[in-house]
């Protein structure tokens, strides 16, 4: 039985198809339209998912949307009443978005698809139930506590529940406007980053700082109870009355105006980032402890945008509250499409649930793949010079050799990842032992801020040799310390007090794998095993044979502000416009110095707005 799940019209539109109890396909619309966080109906994602599943819209057994727009309307109207005259413009603006599109999602989908499955009807799931389903059903657990935390969905911003077999029960919630996701976004905006994409930057900035504003935040902005529930002091926030997250009172509390985007980052913003990160971790840990008390389960599953805070996730593991933790790789709203599809399959169509050895997310490689013929045709049509290496082991040896020499390589192979992390199918790779790799990749390849860390992909069997992480992390969702024996001492205080930009500390050797060691000796780890991603596993193994090092630098195949590449065309364009040295498209190799660059710099096509 086929189910189509959809998220759309808020942000990060996506589609997913589930057959019986197997995830067949899932993709986020931004990858096809090249518009970051695209919120429009996921026309391309739907078309791809149905094609991948080989099913027509009229033959679907269920079509389900991940949110209840009527309940969202209820919230907006009640909030307008509660806040009163100051929120007229904001309430009208929010209502117009609901009334013009979201409330008519069923009509819009029927127009798009012709027929909404065999029964021509649209099912709905509630927002946090969709998140919960995306967390629990693909997990390797038959029984687990469930925690969802995000900005807001209908009324809820946080829920706690319990999954068992095919059943999910959400028992408790925290309601809007009190939101950990919105609190983190408020600080994202205060530190000069873009809401809904800059949260990762704030998290990456935090380790440079000292949490000196931790008590101020707890004394004035948020009241946290022992069970992890919380309320915000709304007089400091403007998101109920304007399109700004914070107000002047917030800025006065911290003694400085909000940083303007792209302006130099100061110690103030760095310490603010460290402070809100510490508060966030405290809430997440308390919520997890409470979920353990309530459910008695030994396993935890999580989703919602806050579940992408992999520093907090790493602390969850180190606290040993649960035996095992599994987090949906597409934890944000895109993953709601997958959750809704799974919910309909298990709870509406009553499909049985079976567990395998691993989770059922299929490595999160759920997007489109492109054949060698398609790739070659594009390269030939565009007069690009390439070689083909059909012998896999020779190809992997070439890749390993180039990486060992410090070259930077774009890897495009197999099915595209679902979720915000590149996991070896649409990745840019580098040598983690090279001291200059982090700044080179940030400034010459990604065109992004120099302070941002890079993640390692490590062979699962070598995990403990490099990192203090006690469970696998196939979806790059946990931050853990680099093993102590590998660390090199450096004086953080001297940098803070020495008058130099704190960000310069990024150029100090911190371990024998400096490119993936953050300033607090941490790393955001992806473990790679032969089952989930055999080709990537073999490439890292080839690098290990050449160098003795079983890990690589892995960053997403895109530049700043650009969605991760989807097609060979996207990959070639990104390759040609950056200082990447080599591009591997399946078994085809392109060297930058063999190409004519002008056509890609002169064609004047899409540029991306800075995120």
């Amino acid at each position: 039985m086929y189910t189509l799940g959809l998220s759309a019209l808020y942000h990060d539109s996506a589609a997913a198809v589930v057959k019986d109890n197997s995830i067949i396909a899932a993709a986020q619309e931004e990858r096809f339209t090249r518009k970051k966080h695209d919120l429009r109906l996921p026309v391309n994602s739907i078309e791809y998912c149905l094609r991948e599943a080989n099913v027509a819209a009229e033959d679907l057994d269920a079509v389900i949307y991940y949110e209840n727009p009527v309940l969202s309307l209820d919230r907006v109207v009640r909030m307008g009443m509660a806040v009163g005259p100051p929120s007229v413009k904001h309430t009208a603006s929010t209502l117009s978005s609901l009334l013009s599109h979201k409330l008519w999602i069923e009509n819009q989908l029927r127009t798009l698809l012709g027929r909404l499955g065999r029964e021509d009807r649209l099912l709905y799931a509630e927002h946090h139930m969709s998140h919960a389903a995306s967390a629990f059903y693909p997990s390797p657990f038959m029984d687990a506590a469930i925690v969802t935390v995000d900005g807001v969905g209908e009324w809820a911003t946080t829920t706690i529940g319990h999954g068992h077999g095919t059943k999910i029960e959400l028992t408790k919630e925290i309601r809007f406007p009190h939101s950990l996701g919105l609190l983190y976004s408020a600080f994202t905006m205060y530190c000069g980053f873009k809401v809904n994409s800059g949260e990762y930057k704030l998290m990456g900035l935090a380790p440079y700082g000292i949490p000196k504003y931790y008590n101020i935040i707890k004394d004035h902005l948020i009241d946290i109870k022992q069970d992890g529930s919380f309320r915000l002091e709304m007089s400091y926030f403007d998101y109920l009355v304007t399109d700004r997250m914070i107000g002047e009172k917030f800025e006065r509390l911290f003694g400085e105006k909000a940083r303007e985007p792209e302006v130099k980052i100061t110690l103030h913003q760095i310490d603010v980032a460290a402070s809100i990160q510490k508060v966030t971790e405290e809430v997440v840990l308390k919520l997890a402890r409470h979920a353990k008390e309530v459910t008695g389960s030994k396993n935890l599953t999580m989703a919602g945008g806050v579940a992408l805070n992999c520093v907090a996730n790493g602390k969850l593991i180190r606290e040993k509250i649960f035996d095992s933790v599994w987090i949906q790789p597409a934890a944000g709203d895109a993953g709601g499409a997958l959750g809704a599809a799974l919910l309909a399959s298990y709870q509406h169509l009553d499909q049985p649930r079976k567990l395998g050895d691993k989770d059922s997310q299929n490595g999160s490689l759920l997007g489109p793949r492109f054949s060698g013929n398609e790739i070659q045709k594009y390269l030939d049509d565009n007069n690009l010079y390439y070689t083909q290496q059909k012998d896999e082991s020779v190809l992997h040896d070439i890749i390993a050799d180039e990486l060992s020499q410090g070259k930077i390589l774009g890897l495009f192979c197999g099915r595209m990842e679902f979720g915000p992390r590149a996991l070896g199918s649409r990745s840019i790779l580098g040598n983690p032992r090279k001291m200059d790799m982090q700044s080179k990749m940030n400034l010459k390849i990604k065109y992004r801020e120099s302070f941002r860390p890079f993640a390692p992909s490590v062979l699962l069997e070598d995990l403990k040799e490099y990192f203090e992480l006690t469970q696998e992390s196939p979806y790059m969702q946990f931050v853990a310390p680099v093993q102590e024996a590998r660390r090199k001492p450096f004086d953080m205080d001297a940098h803070r007090n020495g008058g130099k930009p704190i960000i310069d500390i990024v150029n100090v050797m911190r371990s024998d794998i400096p490119a993936v060691t953050h300033v607090d000796y941490s790393a955001r780890i992806q473990t790679v095993d032969a089952d989930r991603n055999p080709r990537y596993y073999k490439i890292i193994n080839a690098f290990k044979e050449k160098t003795g090092c079983g890990l690589l630098v892995n960053t997403s195949f895109n530049i700043r502000g650009e969605p991760i590449v989807c097609t060979p065309q996207d990959a070639v364009r990104c390759f040609m416009r950056t200082e990447m040295d080599i591009l591997v498209l399946e078994d085809i190799i392109l060297y930058k110095d063999h190409q004519k660059l002008s056509q890609y710099y002169d064609e004047g096509d899409q540029e991306y707005e800075l995120d």
Binding site: V70, G80, K89, S96
Partner: protein, 116 residues
């Protein structure tokens, strides 16, 4: 500006007036404040609410409206016990009909996207 544009522009004006005169009114605060706490409360031990919603009797559900009249009934139904809200249903449903597809989704995401 053609007649359709004028109608849609007029609908936005109508929406803002409706919000100002019927939703964001001073005495509306009295109606809603009992159910929407905006400030911390040091006296309580937990801010969790039981997970109870208006439609979640089943995890997957239909809402069933395809017209203004049907949407009005859905809204009247969820606000059946709250006359101040129920009275808003006919106008909200009519505005939804007037505004359908009015917003340009090609524009950049608003910065308050999370609060939507």
């Amino acid at each position: 500006m053609n007649s359709i544009d004028r109608d849609k522009h007029g609908a936005m004006d109508s929406l803002e007036k409706f919000v100002a005169h019927n939703i964001c009114i001073a005495h509306g605060h009295d109606l809603a404040e009992t159910t929407i706490p905006l400030d911390p409360d040091k006296e309580v031990s937990s801010y969790f609410s039981p997970r109870a919603s208006l439609t979640a009797a089943e995890p997957c559900f239909e809402i069933n409206y395809n017209s203004t009249e049907e949407l009005k009934k859905v809204l009247e139904n969820i606000w059946a016990n709250e006359p101040a809200l129920k009275n808003l249903a006919p106008t909200l449903a009519a505005l939804a009909c007037m505004l359908e597809n009015n917003l340009d989704l090609d524009e950049e995401l608003p910065s308050f996207v999370y609060t939507l």
